[in-house]
């Protein structure tokens, strides 16, 4: 990629229809004092996304079905719990190591409730090691709720929700100890992870357990994909939570996100087509008008 010139001047010739639209946009720029026209597209994006979320949330609340496709990671989780039941060994659930204010930890609690319902139904032990005392209280609530959902409140074992340590590597040593002593047949690791994800995945692999891991941030995903049997990647993490909880807010956000992505893909195909056609053409082309309508040519130091 050669280095496009620094913010140079627009080409002299404004010939053609595109040129006339370009000049009209120049005129328009100064008019609205109350808004910076370069940022108009961002305002449109925010308003459209907000409107979509609002519409879909109302529909979801009125019971209209928003179907989320079955996420492969969920099948892997159910298979792992099933195998643990067959072998009569516990399931280990690691809810990430971040505090409760991290959105992924809150969603991990919701998924934990679903897992707890399954293990209560199957009568399998569920061990939840945590790194933060506040997360421990939330985890207890989630597992208790799951056992109630399965109609077996007696299945809840308070001692299985264990606060190990709030120091990163000491927590890993604690989890490794549980893996060695109680030999869980399934390790489910969902939430926010940092550099220790590598150690947890390696220890889990060596203990012979089926491992399903998932996190929204992409930096730890390479180690999970390499060492675990199945990985729930990036936005799939939020989709799994929406699928399990059917919570209107979340369903609406995912549906709105899909619509925006479809629009982005259509825009991409159209824009790239135009750009390829007019690559190397001097003067203003329709693709430049399109770029400017996305507030790029001015803000992004672009050129004609």
């Amino acid at each position: 990629m050669s280095l496009p010139p620094l913010p140079g001047q627009v080409a002299a010739s404004h010939a053609g229809a595109a040129g006339r639209v370009w000049e009209w946009m120049d005129g328009w720029a100064g008019l609205a004092a109350w808004i910076d026209t370069d940022k108009l597209p961002t305002l449109v994006a925010i308003v459209v996304f907000g409107a979509l979320m609002f519409v879909y949330q109302r529909r979801a609340k009125r019971g209209q079905e928003i179907t989320i496709r079955r996420i492969a990671g969920l099948d892997a989780m159910d298979e792992a719990i099933g195998r643990a039941t067959e072998m009569g060994r516990p399931v280990l659930y690691v809810p990430g190591i971040d505090e409760i204010k991290e959105i992924q930890t809150i969603y991990s609690m919701m998924i934990l409730r679903h897992v707890a319902r399954k293990t209560a139904e199957y009568g399998t032990d569920l061990i939840v090691p945590v790194r933060d005392s506040i997360v421990m209280t939330f985890a207890e609530e989630a597992v208790k709720g799951g056992c109630l959902d399965a109609g077996r409140p007696d299945a809840f074992v308070k001692d299985n929700i264990r606060y190990l340590s709030n120091e990163q590597f000491a927590y890993c040593a604690g989890v490794a100890g549980i893996m060695a002593r109680e030999r869980p047949a399934a390790n489910i690791m969902l939430g926010m992870f940092f550099a220790e994800s590598l150690i947890l995945a390696e220890t889990g692999f060596l203990s012979g357990a089926i491992q399903v891991a998932g996190t929204a941030k992409q930096h730890q995903l390479p180690f999970f994909v390499a060492a675990c049997d199945y990985t729930i990647m990036g936005e799939e993490y939020f989709a799994v939570t929406a699928y399990l909880t059917r919570e209107p807010n979340l369903l609406a956000t995912i549906r709105a996100g899909d619509v925006i992505k479809i629009a982005a893909i259509v825009l991409l195909v159209l824009g790239i087509g135009l750009a390829t056609v007019s690559a190397g053409e001097p003067g203003i082309q329709w693709v430049d008008v399109m770029r400017r309508s996305l507030g790029v040519s001015a803000g992004g130091g672009g050129d004609a």
């Binding site: 004092a33 940022k39 996304f49 590598l198 692999f205 060596l206 807010n249 996100g257």
Partner: protein
């Protein structure tokens, strides 16, 4: 009462920032800059609160005769020792220490206002943090041998791409592959990784937009229940 006012404040300040982002006027800039400074002050005060937590837990463990009690004492001595040195250096001008006076800062040994703090920082904080992170080189090596398996198409592609990137970054890689590795690296990074990262970033930004909208419009209440 306990919930309505905080939510109103969140919505008010959030919308003020959004307004200042879109409006090209000096008043917008002033509002934006002042609200940013307020958020900065609260962020700093919240951080100072965090210290109380650490000191309380350490003191409780020392009192309970915890196995690592002596190390907790080391922690507190270092914490308050460095805080003392820092506060003396910050306020040396007013206190007339180390030769500093009202208008002039000299610092210990004439090496400026933060001489001792920076020395302790370079000789302890630097090696400790850098070495803690470098431990991961060993953990990756162990995991590479014992846990990274090409069990599916996905993990095979991942390990293959990782190998190309590892070879393409170093001189030996090019020597072994006759210059192919660094060219393959450039193609993979700019065209395949570039596309993957763009898609991930667009997805993540839509997530930030969704949570941001819910907070600024007052729909999201979870942060209040802590």
């Amino acid at each position: 009462m306990k919930r309505e006012i905080p939510i109103a404040l969140t919505v008010l300040c959030g919308l003020a920032i959004v307004w200042s982002f879109f409006t090209p006027s000096p008043y917008a800039d002033a509002v934006n800059s002042e609200l940013n400074t307020w958020a900065l002050v609260f962020f700093s005060v919240a951080f100072l609160l965090g210290i109380g937590n650490l000191v309380r837990i350490s003191l409780k463990q020392i009192a309970a005769g915890h196995a690592d009690a002596v190390f907790k004492v080391v922690l507190l001595v270092v914490l308050f020792g460095y805080l003392g040195v820092g506060l003396l250096e910050i306020h040396q001008q007013r206190l007339g220490l180390f030769g500093s006076s009202e208008g002039r800062v000299v610092g210990l040994g004439g090496h400026g206002e933060r001489a001792l703090r920076d020395w302790i920082y370079r000789k302890s904080f630097v090696p400790l943090q850098a070495t803690m992170f470098s431990l991961l080189a060993f953990y990756i090596a162990s995991a590479a041998f014992r846990a990274f398996r090409a069990r599916s198409l996905e993990s095979t592609l991942l390990l293959a791409a990782g190998t190309i990137v590892m070879l393409g970054q170093v001189p030996l890689g090019d020597q072994l592959t006759g210059g192919l590795a660094s060219r393959a690296l450039a193609f993979l990074m700019v065209h395949v990784n570039g596309a993957g990262q763009t898609a991930i970033i667009i997805g993540a930004t839509l997530g930030v937009l969704a949570t941001g909208l819910r907070i600024v419009l007052g729909i999201e209440r979870s942060y209040l229940s802590d």
